[in-house]
């Protein structure tokens, strides 16, 4: 029954989308400034049915309704309730329904909240957004229907991958999709703007909050995903430059560039064509990312179960999107004249875009190159962390300097910029770096520069903060918070990387190992039976010889039965100053266990910094709301 309800709802969504497109097209011809009431009503029905369809699927998971093939493949009666619900979007079909929900939600909200803007523009945006919705709904119905039936109805489901049974992973997709899919609305708005010729400052104002929202959630989504990887995947890292991770990072670079360029469009009414390009590019990158992740074209630890037919459809859809937007751009966007001073904030924002483009191209080339090489020459190569680190890290240094210095310049023109305090802070940063160098251990020239640049940004943000608070310039708070967060993020990642300890050795029960100023005693193992898994728990005594402290760590090897999987749970002790990280795995046909022990300074602060970056964006949204 759920299947019928769900499928009918999806068909209704499709019908409503087509009706909305039709009605909007008719209303375009009516030359007034009021959007017809029936379009609002249709949109309201559309969002209602969309949310209902999603709830229908959730109910299916909660009730373990195995007549739905999607529930059968991804759930199990023994799963805890929270993970049954999270299982709804932890698979391809369910997450696609979530995509559609967000597409429709943003379509509705954009229509309603943009009542101050020109009618033609709003209608065109609505039409393009609904064309996207129609495309995704057809994809869902033809290829990835979460409401498909299976007969005879199985008694038990295939269960969910145990690695996905984690709270961080439960919220990671919804957060990320608001970012990923949220950028669809300004893709449609860009198309709408080109067709209705609603340009310049007004256009910037209409999309500004939407860019901000998608940026905030994309930042949060990526951060939460990294936190999950750190706590759950058992290798002690949080970013592997894996193709799926890169697929989420590419839109982030574009959205960040766009967020800054929209400011220029709003203030100086220039860079319109570039803003349009970025709006189109961001969602194109999102769909490209989806293509890479779901089609099976790439080899990754994160991939969904892959299916080439999905790939064909998404590629077709992506091609349509790219060609339509490209042709529209060439036809509709005329050449602009630019009036930019070197010593102006606009130029520094262009510099931001310049670096974002560099980082974006690096990650894009690194991710796609193996595919291209394989297709053209049949040679398979790997592009992993060393490539990205070598190319990106050196450029972060000038980027941090630009982030610090840029906001000191005013809009349009800055003739007399006060540089004395800035130089003073720069030397402060150099001194602090020397302090770290001499007291905590030496490092490379590159690392020195990174610390100096990051410290420079952090200190200057504090200075800017005191000045903004004293002059009550509230509108500068978001920028200061986010830039500060970014500086902290680079600093803590740098310190963490420089001073981490990582050792890999084999140990038998009863043995111990001395590593630097730590001693690790493998006391014993214990076997425990849980709801849906059996675990071998290691008992490790960790002695910090320098500080004379004792810590107990309990890594696990978990044996799940449905489906039969083996996972390794790291023992992680997170403290303010550093984390201890211990994983244990059994060496086949031997009494030995392979132990990986790591100390990771300031790990928690890396997460805090990333949240601070996102916080700035949220503060901006709150400020704007209070302003209205």
């Amino acid at each position: 029954m759920l299947s019928s309800i769900g499928t009918i709802l999806v068909f209704l969504i499709l019908a409503l989308s087509l009706l909305i497109i039709y009605n909007a097209y008719l209303d375009l011809k009516i030359r007034d400034q009021i959007v017809k009431k029936n379009i609002y009503n249709l949109s309201l029905f559309q969002i209602t049915f969309t949310i209902l369809s999603f709830f229908t699927l959730i109910i299916g998971f909660i009730n373990s309704d195995f007549s739905l093939i999607n529930v059968y493949e991804n759930s199990h009666t023994a799963k805890p309730l929270f993970y049954k619900v999270a299982g709804t979007w932890g698979n391809h079909e369910g997450s696609l329904l979530l995509w559609i929900n967000i597409l429709v939600l943003f379509s509705y909200l954009f229509l309603v909240f943009n009542f101050k803007h020109e009618k033609k523009y709003r209608l065109y945006t609505l039409i393009f957004q609904n064309i996207l919705i129609v495309g995704f709904v057809i994809f869902l119905l033809l290829n990835s229907n979460p409401f498909s039936l299976i007969y005879p109805i199985p008694l038990e489901g295939l269960g969910l991958n145990p690695i996905l049974q984690d709270p961080a992973l439960a919220i990671h997709p919804p957060l990320l999709y608001v970012g990923f899919v949220g950028c669809s609305i300004y893709f449609s708005a860009a198309m709408g703007s080109m067709f209705s010729e609603y340009k310049g400052k007004q256009f910037a104002l209409s999309i500004k909050s939407w860019v901000q929202i998608s940026w905030c959630f994309q930042t949060l989504g990526i951060t939460v995903g990294s936190i999950w990887a750190y706590y759950e995947l058992g290798w002690g890292g949080f970013w592997f430059w894996d193709p799926v991770e890169n697929a989420s990072l590419l839109p982030w670079f574009a959205i960040t560039a766009l967020m800054h360029s929209v400011m220029v469009l709003e203030r100086r009414n220039t860079l319109y064509a570039w803003v349009i390009i970025l709006c189109l590019l961001t969602f194109i990158l999102s769909v490209t990312g989806t293509f890479l992740v779901r089609s099976g074209i790439l080899n990754s630890v994160h991939t969904f179960a892959s299916d080439p037919s999905r790939g064909i459809y998404i590629l077709f859809f992506l091609s349509l999107m790219i060609f339509t937007s490209l042709i529209s751009f060439f036809k509709k966007c005329k050449k602009e004249s630019y009036n930019l001073n070197l010593k102006s904030r606009e130029t520094f924002i262009l510099a931001n875009n310049w670096f974002m483009a560099f980082f974006l191209v690096t990650v894009l080339v690194g991710t796609l190159y193996p595919i291209f090489l394989d297709v053209i020459t049949d040679v398979k190569i790997s592009v992993g962390p060393p490539f990205y680190n070598i190319v990106i890290i050196p450029l972060v240094i000038p980027f941090l300097f630009l982030m610090t210095v840029g906001p000191q310049f005013k809009w349009i023109n800055s003739q007399n910029i006060k540089y004395r305090k800035t130089i003073f802070i720069f030397f402060g940063a150099v001194i602090i770096n020397l302090f770290i160098y001499y007291f905590f251990g030496s490092y490379s020239v590159l690392t020195n520069l990174i610390f100096i640049a990051a410290m420079f940004l952090i200190l200057h943000c504090f200075l800017d903060a005191t000045q903004s608070i004293s002059k009550n310039k509230k509108f500068e708070y978001p920028r200061i918070i986010s830039h500060l967060g970014f500086g902290l993020l680079v600093l803590f990642i740098g310190v963490n990387h420089q001073y981490s300890l990582e050792v890999d050795f084999n140990l038998k029960v009863g043995e111990n190992k001395k590593v630097n100023n730590y001693e690790i005693y493998f006391e014993n193992t214990k076997i425990e039976q849980n709801k849906n898994y059996q675990s071998v728990i290691g008992n490790f005594k960790l002695i910090d010889l320098k500080r004379n402290r004792i810590q107990y760590l309990y890594p696990e090897i978990r044996i799940y039965s449905d489906p039969e999987t083996l996972t390794y749970e790291a023992a992680i002790k997170s403290k303010i100053t550093s984390d201890f990280y211990l994983t244990m795995s059994n060496v086949s046909r031997s009494e030995y266990y392979n132990i990986k022990f790591q100390t990771k300074p300031f790990m928690t602060w890396i997460w805090v910094s990333a949240f601070i970056v996102a916080l700035g964006g949220f503060v901006q949204l709150i400020l704007k709301k209070n302003e209205n």
Binding site: G296, F330, I371, V375
Partner: protein, 173 residues
Amino acid sequence: MKINISKIIIFSFVIFFLSIFWLGLKKDNNYDTKNFIGNKISNFQLSSIYNNDYISEEVLKKNKFTLINFFASWCAPCRTEHKYLINLSNKNKEFKILGISFKDKKKNSINFLNELGNPYNFVAEDADGKASISFGIYGIPESILINNELVIIKKIVGPIDQKYYEEILQLIQ
């Protein structure tokens, strides 16, 4: 829309990108070293599982063809492929089979061969698995067919099945 050179270039790029994606979909992205043929195997010296003698690449130079087969008593697919090895043994006077017991106890390997039959002309052991890396092995069972110049002419990743069996027969004629 005026057609100028930059637009043509951009459209060409887009078409190129999308075509590569399309072609990439058809490719199998599982990596294996099946096509890593044409190189010589490295020199090696492994002890026999039966006595204290050493087996090195020198003995292999005497045969026109040698099949080097990595196996272990604890490996289930090794059991299923074993009958093909038995059939291949002594098919051809100039064809010999070298078995290398991988990360296994001598006792267990000997029992395994006593139970299923010994198709090997020589049996060496690689107790810690390190020698297998020099052969480019990454999982067992895995087999390498070489000629008398020690050049690899075929690699079989996984158990030998009917198809591979016939291919080997063809190659050693």
